[in-house]
Every structure is written in C-alpha cells, then in structure tokens.
Symmetry: D2
Subunit: 360 residues, 4 copies
C-alpha cells in the first residue's frame, strides 16, 4: 500500500498516518518529495483493509500494490488448472484440447433436448448445456422447466455420454442441481451474488463462472476467489460480453480479457459468443476470434429449430450452422496450437448406436 | 410490435411472417414502403415473446411498442404509491415529506450502532440503515455480524422508534431478516437476482430495491415488477450511481434517472449519494441535486467515527457532517415543494430521554 | 512517480530502473517490501514523461503522483476565475450570480433569432447562444447558416445587449467567429481537437469548453490546459452529459463532475441540461440539480416554435417553458446561496422598447 | 419512419401528425392497436429530418427504419472497395491479401525511422506508419516533429518503397500532409471533427479513419459518409478499441465491430491492436483475434527501442517481437482464407541492398 499525502501536511498528521499503519503490523517508509510525501507500507497490506486510511487528515490517496486475490493468481499455482467435468474420463477444460459446450438455451422438452444433444455431439461438442432455471429480465417470460429439465438432462447424459452444464440461480437449488448436473453454471447476473458463490464453493462439482455485464476482470477473479476460498478449486471463467454504449451487438465481447485472464490466473477461460453478439451470424467470427486470442473453449447455443425457441431464438445456431462453425474452427484451433475432439467421437459409456442417432 | 422487413422480401416470406404473428393471436397490418415493408402487429405483443420473429427469413428487425412492465407503470395506477415502513405511524416514503434513511454501512457493534442511531435521529433522519449481511467484492473482507446485528437493530428500533432498513442477500435469509427488520434492501449486485426478487415478493415487508451498477432504467423497473408480480407492491426504487468510464467518482450518479423514473412509475424513488460518489465530501452536493431533481428521499451512510469503519470508511459522514447536510438540505427541499421532518423529532414508542441521548 | 516492481526483480534490473530515473534529473528512494520493491521518484515527474519506464525489465506498474495539469489547478490560482463575456459590463460567469446562456440550437433566420433573443432576455438569460456552424452526425443534415448567422448574431447583440456565444469547429474559422462573437464555444466532439484548442488559446475571447461524450474529468482539465498554456485563461467548462449504456436519456448528466471540477480547478463550471437529457421535459429537473450541485450557470436551448426547429427540436424549450424553468430556478439558486439576474433586466446599449418587444 | 402515438391520442392530434408527414412529401399508413396507434411513413424518411415529429402532441416515439448512411452502405455498392495506397502497384487494403501498416508512433528522427522502416518491411509489413503531428492529452507532451517528419517519411518511402500513412489533425495541414504522405489518417479523437472530414474528402488521397473512443458503429459509418459525400471514396475504417468501464486494458477492442462493419459497408476494415490493448504483450493475441474475426489488416506500433520512445512506449513492439507476431499470424491468416505478403519482399523502386539493410 502506498499513501500519497496532500501538500503542506503537518508533522502531526504524518505521525498519525504512520501510527495507524504500524498499529496494523506493517512498517512504513517515507519518501519526501518537493510537493508530496509518500508513505510506503511494507508488510501484508490486507491487514490495512479495515483501517480507514483514506479518511485520515492529510491523506490524498491510497494506492494498493498487491492484487486483492490470492488463490486464483498465477503466483499461487505454477501449472494451469485443468478442470475435468463428468464421470470417468469426463471432459477436460483447460488442457490443450479445446472444450466446446453446446446445446439449447433452455430445456423445452424431451424431444428437442435429445435432438440438440445428438447433433452437437456429432459436430464435436464435448459438453452439453441446457437451462433448467432461466434468469429472465421479465417475470412474465418463460423461466424454465426446473426439476423436470434436470431429470431430462441426466437422461440425455446417460444416452450420449456428454457431461451436463446447467445454471443454478438460488442457494436453495444448489443441492438438487449438483445432484443431476456435472457442472454448475453461475450466470452473469449472479457474478456478485456472494451467497451463491459461497454455496457452490461448498459442493464438489466444477463451476462455470460467467463474467457480469459490468464486472471488471478483477471483480471476476475475486468472485472466483470466493469459490476457491470455500475449498472448490474446479472453476472455469467465462467471458460473455460486457455492457457498453454500443448497441449494434447485444454486448461487447471483451476479447482482450482473454489474454489478461490467462496471464493473471491459472484457471481455464472460455468464451460465450452467443450472448456476446446476440445474433446467430456473429457466432462464427466471435468464436474464431476467441480461440485466436487464447481461449480454452467455447459455449454456444444450438437449437434444433431456433425460430421456435422459447428464449434466445435470435442468437441460437441451427445444428447445420453449428457443424459449419466447428468445421471452420479447426484451422483456427490449429493456428493457436490447440487440438479439437474429432466430430462424432465416442465418449465413455456411450453405445455406438447413440452416435448413429446423433448423426442422423 | 413492429416488424421491419429486408429489401426484396418475397411474398412467401411475408406470408410466413404474418402467419407466425396471427397464430399467436394478433392481427397484422402491412405498410409497403419503397425500400421496406413494415408489418404492424396489433394485439397483446407479449404473446409474441416466444415467437422467434427475428429468426424468420426476410426479417430485418423487430421493434417492441409496448413497455415490457405492467404493474409498476404509471398507467397501471393513477396515484403515486406511498410506502409506509414500520409499525404504528411508521415512516412514509413517497409522500410530500422527504424520507431520509441514515446510519452505518455495517453494524459493527452495540455501542456504535446506538450512537449512530441517536445522532441521525437527532438530525432528522426518518429511518435507520445498518448492514447485518454485507456484500463484499473480496471473500477476505468483513462480511457483517449476521443475526447478531439483526438483534441489535431490533433493539435500537425499540429505543429510538426508527424503522430499520437492512440488506438481504440470500433467499434463505429472507424470513429471518423479515422477522427483525421493517424494510428489506436488495443491493445493487442483486438487482437481477431473480430468485431473491421473487422471495421478497412473497413476504409482507416493504422492499428497497437498488439499481444495479449496469442496470438500465427499464431493467430496474422489470426487477420491481418481479416483486409486484408476487403480490408485494410496497417497493421503493433507489438510484445509487452506475458504472461508467469515469473514475474520479466511485460511480456516476444518474440524476436524470430520477425524473425518468418518476414519469414511468408510481413507485417512490430515492437516491444513495454515499455509494454514488464514494467520498464523504460529495454527499452534500449529490444529496441536494437528487432532491432538486425530484427524488422522494435519500439514503446516507453515517458512522460515529468513519476512520474506524470496517467498510465504506471513505464515504461515511460523521454525525456533525450529516447534521450539516440535513440543515442545508431544508432550503432545497422547500424549493422542490417538499417538507422534511423536524430535527430531533419524537417518533412512536420513543421515550423523551432517548432523544436527549441522541442530541448529546 | 512511483514504480512498483515485479517479484524476484534482480539487482541489475533495479539498478537500471534507478539510473533511468536519475538520468532524467530526479532522485530515487527504495522501499523494499516482502513481495515488491517500490521505487519512489522525487522531483518533477513530468521529466519522466518520455522515459519509457513501464517498458523496463522488472517493472510491474508506474503510478503518477502529481496531477498532469498545472495552470487550471486550484493550487495554481487561489481565487476562482470569473470570466467576463462581452463589452462594457458584459456578463460574468463564475461569480455569485448564476450565468444563464439561452437561445436556439442554430440560427435559422433573422426573425426566429430576434424572437428567441427577446424572450430569453425577458426571462432573465444573461447570454445568448445560437449556432452558425453546426456539428451534425450526418453530412446530409442542416449544418448552419455560417457567416450569415454570425452577422445576425452581432445584430441581435446590438439590439438586446446580450453577449453572444457560438461554436467554432475549424481552425480556419477562429478569426471570423472571434470577430463577431463574444465567446467561442468548443463543442463536445472537439474537446480533444488539439489544433482547435491551441487556436482558440491564441485569441483574446473567452472560451466555453464542453466536455466530450467520453471525456474524463482529467481529460477535460487537460483540454482546458491547452488553452491556458497558449495564454488565454478565460475558459468556462461545461458538463453536458456523457455517453453510457443507458439509453432512456440522450446522455447521462454526470452531476458529480460539478463538485469534482469545483474542487480541482479555479475555472467556472456550467451545465447544459438540454443535451444531457435530450428531451424538453428533462430540462427543468436537470437544471435544478445542476445548480443544487454547485454549478455556476446553465446553457439551455430555447426555440420560438420547437416543432419547426431544424435541429434539436425534441430538447428545445418554448419561451413559456423557459420562463417557467427560470422562475422555479430562483428558489434553488437561493438555496445554493446564489443570485440570479432579475427577469427582463436592461443590459448596456439596450433601448427599453426592445425589452417590451421581448416581453410581448 | 414509424411514429408510435401515446394512448388516448385525439383525432385532431393524429391529423396534425399525418399532415406534418405528408407536407414533407411522404405518405402515411395507420395501424390502430388496442393501446397505441402506429403511423407508418412511406417514402424517403430523410425528408423528415427537419420535421420535429417528436415534439408534436400525442407522439410517444419516432423510430427510423432506414439507415442514415447511403454511400458507405453495402446496398450502395455491390463489390467490396479495395483501396490502393501509394504510387505504382502500391499496397492494396481490402483485397484477399492482408494489409499490415507498421512503424513507430511518432517520427523521432532520421535514424530511428529508417531502422524501423527496414525492420517492419523485412517482416512483411506492406505500409509504413509514423506520426508527424501527434495528438497528446497534455499540452506539455511531445507533439511531433511536424514538416521535418513529413520530409523524412517521404525520404524513407523513396528508399524502401513502403507507402506512408500519417495523421492529419488540422484542416490547415491537409494540403501539406497530402503532398508528402500516401494515406491520411484521421485519429480517434477527430472521428467527429466534421470540418476535417470534409477537408480530407476534398483531396485525392486515401483516408484511414479511426473509430472514436466512444463512437458507435453507426457514427463511424456516418463519419466515413462525410468523406465519401465530398467525392473521396478511398476510405479504410479502423477499429482501435472503445472506452468502457474496464481498466485492465487501455481500451476495449470491440472485435464484434469487425463482422458488423463487414456486413454493413463495402469499405475495408482494419484493426489497431496497439492502441486497443495498450501493452506490447497484448498485440499478438489481439492481432490474431482481429484477423480471425474477418479484419482486412492491422496497424501496429513498432519502435527500434521502445524504452526510448517519446510516446506509446508501453505498447510498441520491438522489431523482433513484430517479426514473431507476423510469423505466427500466417497460420491465422490462412485459417481465415487470407494471404499475406512474404517477409522481406521487394516493392517497387526499392534496390535490393535496402532490403539487406533492413534485415541486418
């Protein structure tokens, strides 16, 4: 922590500042300049969090030197974290092979879910997404099938072998979602729902944490720290576009956040191009850009017939469009030194005929 | 709903669009222009929410005409809502008299709470704030005393007569907070925590709903709609600054949101100048501006000794500073045609000596 | 300047950093912490502007301590600057009396200009605005009458005594505009048009400098510094709303910028509520808020018949609406300890019958 | 144009609206809904620009249907524009081969400029950048060598054959810059300097137009329209990061703007990763992302010794770093179906030994 003082500070004020710092167990070090004196605070600056330094007489500003997060930082863990989702071999996120989570925005029924699962699997997706509980701006919009959807997701996993990612919105749902799903998603609007972060930190399921619409990169890392601090270090971060003045796209994909996060943290980083762009024709270029910038994977909305989707119709790909994106993505993955699962691959526990169904 | 078509749309595409709209129970009305044909959809456009109009061939854009909220709208209720908080006469928010909620960021102990309560009451505050559960960016920061704080708040209410406002962050806490507090606060980071909004919609306590850091005015109204849709129409909206590119202030007080909200909704609107500015010296000018722009009240952080505060030290007023703001505020309130409670007023159930304590 | 080093910096790297600083004529001061060493640079840190400190091996971040502006800073001049506009007594901006600049967005013709001038003067405006050269997003929109408008403005000044404020958009226009107008306005889109800032710094006319749509407060002050650095210290700053994610208002009035600017600089600060809100019904509440927050004046668009205005129709007040705003403003001005010119006041060189015309 | 009326509009109000539209030469078409009547305006809606429709009684909102730009739109020109810069074969921007503009932020002297030019040419850059006039936030910062730099740029072009791109900041400089340089750059801060846009529209030199820090995509296209409207259709657009709340990067690269622009306009689109990220280590991932998203080229700052650069030191690449980016870029270009000039290529008028000098 560095304390910059106002011009003409008195000796008594300076003494009071030093005492406040030293009472918290740190040492101080003065640099007297022409206009300002600077007080360097040496020691664990987190001890100063509850010392109201900025309110002391003569203080102009207080500048932290250390990052406020600990366990998520690169310095804390030398190797990148690889999060394995699902039973058996499962699907790895954060390794050399790209992870692709695909599926419908919300689970609308058995048939559409199985159809979507089969087609995304055939195109090379490694995990299946599908909303059981949906956050919607309006209380009058469709909010998901709830537990019925969870049961369907578990069923489709049994058939296709694809691990399941689904959103949890309420601390009271954490247990039931953790029971059925392989990975718990924290949505953008809940990035700073600290009760929910703590709750998913207490279960032993990987967590997919989406960046909030106005969440800074530092706040995203602190949100992840909440989960790690409770003992769950299986966290994947997801950039999904931030809110800016530009309205031509639904959100603004902060592609620069990818290399910044990869530099700051050992956790895997994926990108959701569907929500970032908000239009199906933007999914391909944003996906390619994300992988080129170093992302570890993608999360893409795919619906058997987008025009009938009960949510996010405009940004959902058809199965054919998704297959096309996956095909073109391979060259970008290779350019980035990454591999991709082959299309139509067999995962654990999946009988060959399920693949046939998926390809049909 | 208005549908704008692409140039060179075919008759078949146009027919498909009309059929989709009419299937949902609305009528269509064509306006053929030189470049574009426009399809007006007549009827309840909310029926179209799950029709993926934007995905149909030939559609360029889909423009809603009706506001997506209903019960919070001025059109729904002719008279302004006045929310009465607390037992007996309680404290009214939304009437001609300004409401002033004041008190410490968090309840740190019995003594500081009683001291803060006495001094804000003496200066004319009409409700007491104090955090029991604190949302903090970092998991390592002080997060409040929890139920112990709730008990202290109930105790201080018994002594001073000030109704209590405190934040609830978790659906599992709603019952216990509703038992102790007079008004439940939904913090900015939970503005779109839809599970929590629904949960406070189910209790019979007034709700103070703060605007999210990147919440639009429309989203704030829809968040309130969540609460009203569950049967709780005692909701007060709170503008507390939004996140912009400017870093000289903690947030940017969106003072224009006040008249916009007053025009759109019958619900009361107050302002939190402490979080908006983030510095104690900004509280006075932002408070005056808020009332001048038509706000129904203020929510201000006051701490007996800000330099020892465990959170928000930099933006907390001392009791003397708060008294000064309240004194100067009277002229602005009068200019706005509003009244203010006299300083040091007696509320229900408050013995005279408690006032003396507050003034000492 | 403070340099924060990376962990595990070598002695050679540290020496190279110190040498670079000392070569620029400053002294260095080391504070060795557990994780980081901090290098304080003592002396005129502006000497370091061209030393690429951040690129040196071992440097994590470089934190400036001094503000980058000089002549606009409070520390540079003890008393607030009062800018006097116009010949004779002129109109003062920055004194105890509020300045109110009013008039049409653009000068559309003789009759409308004289009508507007008479009515704003009757209501108590102290300066007249009117665009001769208009910045328009589209090249196909009306861009002002140019020199013809300048001549009309000079004529209306002769008749009403109101000093003239008009925008200059091109370095080549500075001389002709300075010849006719009393105050040169730099529009928001030109806040960082450094050639234009330098050019108006070279003339001896007061300058009204509007904040850019995404200009920070610091950048606004540096833009003013450009003008002062050329020898023209008659500069008035104007907050007119910034660009944010919110679309309910045309821009977001950053009301907090007013007290921040008043604290940082000795220059006067006024507010343009017309562009900030973008709707005529928002002008009153935003004007009241601006004065309550400490602004030294307002700039308001008034048009005899807004529905026929060739630009900014939606945000222009009618003369009656303007009179109403001015009347109600008086109580807020008084609350803020400010005076206002009486309505219908006579200025220099104005025959009484002109007033009668204005009031009719 | 679509006009949405308020509920309970009177027939007289509706008639007045229709008359206003029809007076401007358009036809109207009514759709009467349950709550609102909608007035479709059929014809050239640009005729309505100066009709203050939004101010008419009974009007709730006015929604444009047509895009406000014309000549820059895809609909205006079927084929993509390819801008050829420089004499002879020149360098093409917008064709299948990627364009790479590289060089120092500012021209600091003869030796550094020639060294930079030789090294970027050796690595495969197709155009040379170098600032003669520099926009700087502070009036006390280095602002370029001016005409001396222009002469050096012309000299280095003669030697290396690289066409020259340099910024013009003032209408009075347009002629002299056009005389020496091959392409005129309009910087981000001047995107809406309409006088300058018109001035470069009048010369016969290609223009590189950078997006403003808070410029929307639509405003960027309208700024280009200013240039085309004056008869100069050789315009290249440049995304260089926008201003958002995120401070981890200097700006936020709006990668989604690339596909949006490519869909909306026939003009080429390039990206400046140096200013977008603001850190040298971000240039590689942002460059790869830009090309993956469909950009036609890049503009990258390269300095022989960044630590001595007089501006933008932190974001400049060394020649070795630039060579490395260019080498890795080839795989991404191929994935995007684009070609790149081979490294060390000979351009017109360049003797072989100049190449040797560059590679040494």
């Amino acid at each position: 922590m560095i304390i910059v003082t106002r011009p003409h500070i008195t000796d008594a004020e300076l003494d009071a500042i030093r005492e406040a710092v030293e009472r918290a167990g740190l040492q101080t070090h003065l640099s007297r300049g022409e206009h300002r004196t600077i007080v360097g605070c040496i020691g664990d600056e987190r001890m100063l969090a509850e010392v109201g330094l900025a309110t002391l007489a003569g203080v102009e500003s207080v500048i932290p030197v250390l990052k406020p997060y600990r366990q998520v930082a690169r310095e804390f863990r030398a190797d990148p974290t690889i999060v394995v989702v699902g039973e058996g071999a499962g699907a790895a996120i954060g390794g050399n092979e790209l992870a692709v989570i695909a599926g419908p925005c919300s689970v609308e029924g058995r048939e559409m879910l199985f159809s979507a699962a089969a087609s995304v699997r055939a195109a090379g997706a490694t995990l299946l997404r599908g909303g059981a509980y949906k956050p919607r701006s309006s209380p009058y919009a469709f909010r998901g099938l709830g537990e019925e959807a969870l049961a369907l997701l578990a069923e489709v996993r049994a058939e296709t072998g694809l691990p399941i990612v689904t959103e949890v919105m309420d601390t009271r749902q954490v247990d039931v979602v953790a029971e059925h799903a392989d990975m718990l998603q924290i949505g953008a609007r809940n990035m700073q729902n600290f009760a929910l972060l703590s709750a998913v930190g207490d279960v032993r399921r990987p967590v997919l944490l989406k960046r909030g619409l106005s969440g800074t990169i530092e706040e995203l890392l602190l949100a992840a720290e909440y989960i790690l601090a409770r003992g769950n270090d299986q966290v994947v971060l997801c950039e999904r576009g931030i809110r800016t003045f530009e309205t031509a796209t639904r959100n603004t994909l902060d592609v620069g956040a990818i290399p910044v996060l990869k530099r700051e943290t050992h956790l895997p980083v994926i990108v959701d191009p569907s929500h970032a762009g908000g239009k199906s024709w933007l999914v391909a270029p944003l996906s390619f850009a994300a992988i080129a910038a170093g992302a570890d994977g993608l999360m893409i909305e795919v619906h058997p017939t987008p025009s009938t989707a009960r949510s996010d119709a405009e940004q959902s790909l058809t199965p054919d469009e998704f297959t096309n994106v996956m095909t073109r993505l391979r060259a970008f993955a290779a350019a980035a030194g990454r591999t991709m699962a082959p299309p139509n691959v067999l995962h654990v526990n999946t009988p060959p005929d399920a693949v046939g169904a998926g390809a049909s």
